[in-house]
C-alpha cells in the first residue's frame, strides 16, 4: 500500500513508471470481436471461392452470416464497455475509425448486393468521408463530422445518377467536407490572433 512518507527522486520516477505500466496493461482487449470477425471473413471468403471453383451452391448468401454476427458483437461490446472502469485516450478515435469503416462497408455491400459494384466516383466520395469524419471526431469539430456524413449521403445519391451529375455531387463534397470547415477554422485562427495582439 502506498503511504505518505518521504521518498527519493528515483522512487518518484519508479512509481510513475510503475503506474503508467499498470494503466497500459489494463488496455488489453479480450480479442473476442476480432476473433469472430476474422473467422467469419475467412469462412465466407473460402465458401464463396469454393462455390465458384467447384461449381456448387450452398443455397443462401454466406455473407449474410456477417449481419447475424453483428448482434452478439453489439451485445458483448456494450457489456464490455459497461464493466470497464476507465476510458483509454485512443478509445474515441477507435470508435470513429470503426464507425466510418462500418458505414462504408454497409453502403458498398448494400449497393453491390442490389446493383453490382458502385461507380468509381461513388467510391471516391465514400473515401472522402472517411478521413473527414474521423478527423472531426478526434478534434471534436462538428462541421467536419457533418462533412464526412454528407460525403457518404452524396456517395449513395451518386450511385443512382450519371457521371456528369456525380461531378456536381463531388463539388458539394469538397464544399461541405473541407471548404466550409476550412473557412470556419481560418476565422477562428484570425479571431485568436486578434485576441493575442
Amino acid at each position: 500500500m502506498l503511504e505518505e512518507k518521504e521518498f527519493s527522486t528515483e522512487q518518484s520516477l519508479q512509481l510513475i513508471q510503475e503506474m503508467i505500466g499498470k494503466a497500459k496493461r489494463s488496455y488489453v482487449s479480450k480479442g473476442f470481436a476480432t476473433i469472430v470477425w476474422g473467422a467469419l471473413i475467412v469462412l465466407c471468403s473460402l465458401v464463396t471461392w469454393a462455390q465458384e471453383q467447384f461449381k456448387f451452391s450452398i443455397g443462401f448468401d454466406i455473407w449474410l452470416l456477417l449481419l447475424l454476427a453483428l448482434l452478439p458483437q453489439i451485445y458483448f461490446g456494450i457489456k464490455e464497455r459497461r464493466s470497464k472502469d476507465f476510458v483509454a485516450h485512443d478509445e474515441q478515435t477507435m470508435t470513429f475509425l470503426w464507425t466510418a469503416f462500418a458505414i462504408c462497408i454497409f453502403i458498398s455491400s448494400f449497393y453491390n448486393g442490389m446493383y453490382g459494384p458502385p461507380s468509381f466516383s461513388s467510391l471516391i466520395m465514400m473515401l472522402y468521408g472517411i478521413p473527414t469524419f474521423i478527423t472531426g471526431g478526434i478534434f471534436k469539430f462538428k462541421p467536419m463530422i457533418l462533412g464526412g456524413i454528407i460525403c457518404w449521403v452524396l456517395s449513395i445519391v451518386s450511385m443512382y445518377t450519371p457521371y456528369t451529375t456525380d461531378m456536381l455531387l463531388m463539388a458539394a463534397c469538397g464544399l461541405f467536407a473541407w471548404l466550409i470547415p476550412g473557412i470556419i477554422l481560418w476565422k477562428r485562427y484570425k479571431k485568436q490572433q486578434a485576441a493575442n495582439v
Partner: protein, 99 residues
C-alpha cells in the same frame, strides 16, 4: 540549480493517482483504488487535495442506481505533471547531460 518539487505531486499516493490519470482519458474511483492498493478513505482525501489544487476534475454521477466517481486530469494537472517530471530529471542529471 535544483528546481523545487511540487509538494502536491511529491506524495506517493497523489503521484500514483496522477500517473494513472495521465495514462488514461478518465478513470473511476474503483480503478484508482485497485491500481494503487490504497484504502478508500485515504484515496478519497488525496483525490480531494488534487481536485482542490485544480490538477484533476472529479465528476460524481449515478450509473445503474450506483454512485460513480469519475476522475480525469485537467490541463493544469498535465502542465504540473510535466514540470514535476522535468524537475525530477534535473535532480537526477544536475549537469543536464542526461537528456
Amino acid at each position: 540549480m535544483f528546481k523545487e518539487l511540487d509538494p502536491i505531486l511529491h506524495s506517493q499516493l497523489r503521484l500514483a493517482v496522477m500517473s494513472l490519470l495521465i495514462s488514461v482519458k478518465e478513470a473511476e474511483f474503483t480503478f484508482l483504488k485497485e491500481k494503487t492498493n490504497a484504502t478508500a478513505g485515504n484515496l478519497s482525501v488525496q483525490i480531494n487535495k488534487l481536485k482542490d489544487a485544480g490538477y484533476i476534475e472529479v465528476i460524481k454521477q449515478f450509473s445503474n442506481n450506483y454512485p460513480q466517481t469519475i476522475c480525469k486530469v485537467s490541463p493544469a494537472g498535465v502542465n504540473a505533471f510535466e514540470i514535476y517530471v522535468k524537475a525530477l530529471q534535473s535532480y537526477m542529471h544536475p549537469n543536464g547531460n542526461g537528456q
